[in-house]
Subunit: 343 residues, 2 copies
């Protein structure tokens, strides 16, 4: 092979006997450069095997064409859809993604924020570890680097949030269960400091209230919504006498719902005849469990795309994101067998 030394715009300039400035501008189709010259430059660049040096470029232009992504966990079905959507939009818009996970830990998140800051990302996309405190993003805000929160968001005057209407979604789920004839409905929720879970609880409550059903605090359980969490809840339910058990369980995600169902089924409980179930997310497992799980379709891929697209538009100056407070994506209730009528 040849290709030992890197080709720079200076090499191209010398080769064509023009100035590096013209080459630089020519390569990015600057209008003041004659079309013919641009063509010559492009050809020479290809012929010599030129590749642009993004550092030199970023050093001067102060833009990196890179977006930072910080998420609680990478390995969930939902998050992988989000990332796929993000990657798709980013690649279309000419951006790269740097991805890091906070593992739900605030200090890890803070560290990630600083790394992204030092890497000079052009913008940041975040699903929060804890939404209570977002002061560690101030380094971004004070430098006017745009930050978009998605899914797990926190209100902040300088950032945009991309969410679904968790309140309404949970309201619809609960109302559906009520319509099916269930009265004592349990809510299995997550960390109530996170908007997604507190909103879902609120929707649940509101639905009960609107249908004149008593809200019983004992019927609200919060957990980490993992597989174990679902199994534990099942154990608790099994401890109760059948008649004391809730008639339906409205879970804040599919994982906990599914593993709770599995444990109950193994103990001989019939779903939905003895206890009905509903979940959240439309995870693949919701269509494998028997009976199939009623759930809320959570458009992860679209959310990822929307987040990146908004950010890119803002960075390109097409729209100003600071005017946009919140983008709410459409979600929908998917009714399946698990929420069937009571026997």
């Amino acid at each position: 092979m040849s290709e030992e030394k890197e080709i720079t715009i200076y090499d191209i300039a010398r080769h064509l006997n023009i100035s590096p400035t013209t080459v630089s501008r020519g390569l990015k189709d600057h209008p003041t450069i004659n079309i013919k010259t641009r063509k010559k430059i492009a050809e020479a660049a290809k012929q010599l095997g030129y590749r642009s040096n993004t550092f030199a470029s970023s050093l001067r232009s102060k833009r990196t064409q890179t977006l930072g992504v910080i998420v609680p966990r990478l390995n969930s079905s939902f998050m992988s859809s989000v990332l796929a959507g993000m990657e798709n939009a980013a690649s279309r818009e000419g951006y790269n993604l740097i991805i890091a996970q906070s593992l739900e830990q605030a200090d890890k998140e803070m560290e990630n924020v600083m790394t992204m800051f030092n890497k000079r990302v052009d913008g940041l996309l975040v699903s929060l570890a804890h939404s209570s405190d977002v002061r560690h993003f101030d380094v971004f805000f004070s430098k006017k680097i745009p930050v978009i929160f998605f899914d797990r968001v926190a209100p902040h005057p300088d950032s945009t949030s991309i969410i679904i209407d968790n309140f309404t979604a949970a309201y619809q789920v609960t109302r559906h269960l009520i319509m099916q004839g269930h009265k004592r409905i349990m809510h299995l929720g997550g960390n109530m400091l996170l908007n997604v879970y507190s909103e879902r609880l609120r929707g649940y409550k509101q639905a009960l209230q609107d249908h004149k059903l008593h809200f019983d605090e004992k019927l609200v359980i919060t957990g980490n919504l993992t597989e174990e969490c679902g199994t534990d809840v099942a154990k608790q339910l099994l401890k109760l006498k059948p008649k004391d058990r809730p008639e339906a369980v409205c879970c804040a995600n599919d994982t906990s719902a599914v593993y709770c169902m599995i444990a109950l089924k193994n103990a001989g409980v019939n779903i939905p005849e003895d206890i009905a179930f509903a979940g959240f997310n439309n995870d693949p497992i919701s269509r494998v469990i028997e009976p199939n799980l009623t759930t809320v379709n959570y458009p992860g891929y679209n959310m990822g795309q929307a987040a990146v697209t908004s950010l890119a538009n803002h960075l390109n100056g097409d729209t100003n994101i600071t005017d946009t407070n919140t983008i709410v994506l459409r979600s929908e209730l998917i009714i399946r067998a698990s929420s069937g009528k009571r026997k």
Copy 2:
């Protein structure tokens, strides 16, 4: 807020009345700089709110502390585990990840390769779209930038592959099915140009041969292993008279196995009594389907960690990866109900 202008090493130098060189070396604990001076520099840096400019640094040092990752698809359970493992190791080793997906398309992969190349990643981690041709990685090889293939790999003298022993794993699955009394065993495989699927087919064949079972070409189906693919195979099986159906199906992933099972169950076929099943990957859905799916545990998280760790060690000069041809991770057969004995 204050923080309008960026602080550089020149500002620190001026502030302490020393040279920028000393600041630069001091900041990275260069041994020729007096300990006391280093301390002073660190303090001044903190006080002034200095953040290093990675471009300026990379421009000169020609290292980016960034690794490129190219995968066929981001949104699969397996890949999200891999990424989680990669992110974990990368963050530990002080590297960032730039992630892109090829969507199984060779041209998209080529494009990604060039982007990564231009972004000057220090190394590349790739699971291939098609393993037939890897010439588009030559830009990396000729510049001696390390490339690691994982999962979907292609042999190349200048790169390391990280895989599991697909041959043996498939052999064990097939042998297990044989031991359970199944004789006519179907193999549902993927694109045979990819090492993972061709090796699995090979393992299947070898197991048949070692147990004196006839290999029937008609019992090998290849598809894209998606949900639809599984459903389609079920339809084909249902067209056959029950006695003509295979006694077991050995699938190259869990998704196709599970959706095939679902379709058969809906048609009244009993699993495993009428047809037994085995999959590959240990996807979450394999533990939700009833009966639970016998499968091969595919250590995605470990694979991701191993890939990044090897690459980082190589880049740090701790080990030389070019000596390592292949790293084989342990996988294991997980026996569940779907592969039960024949009635």
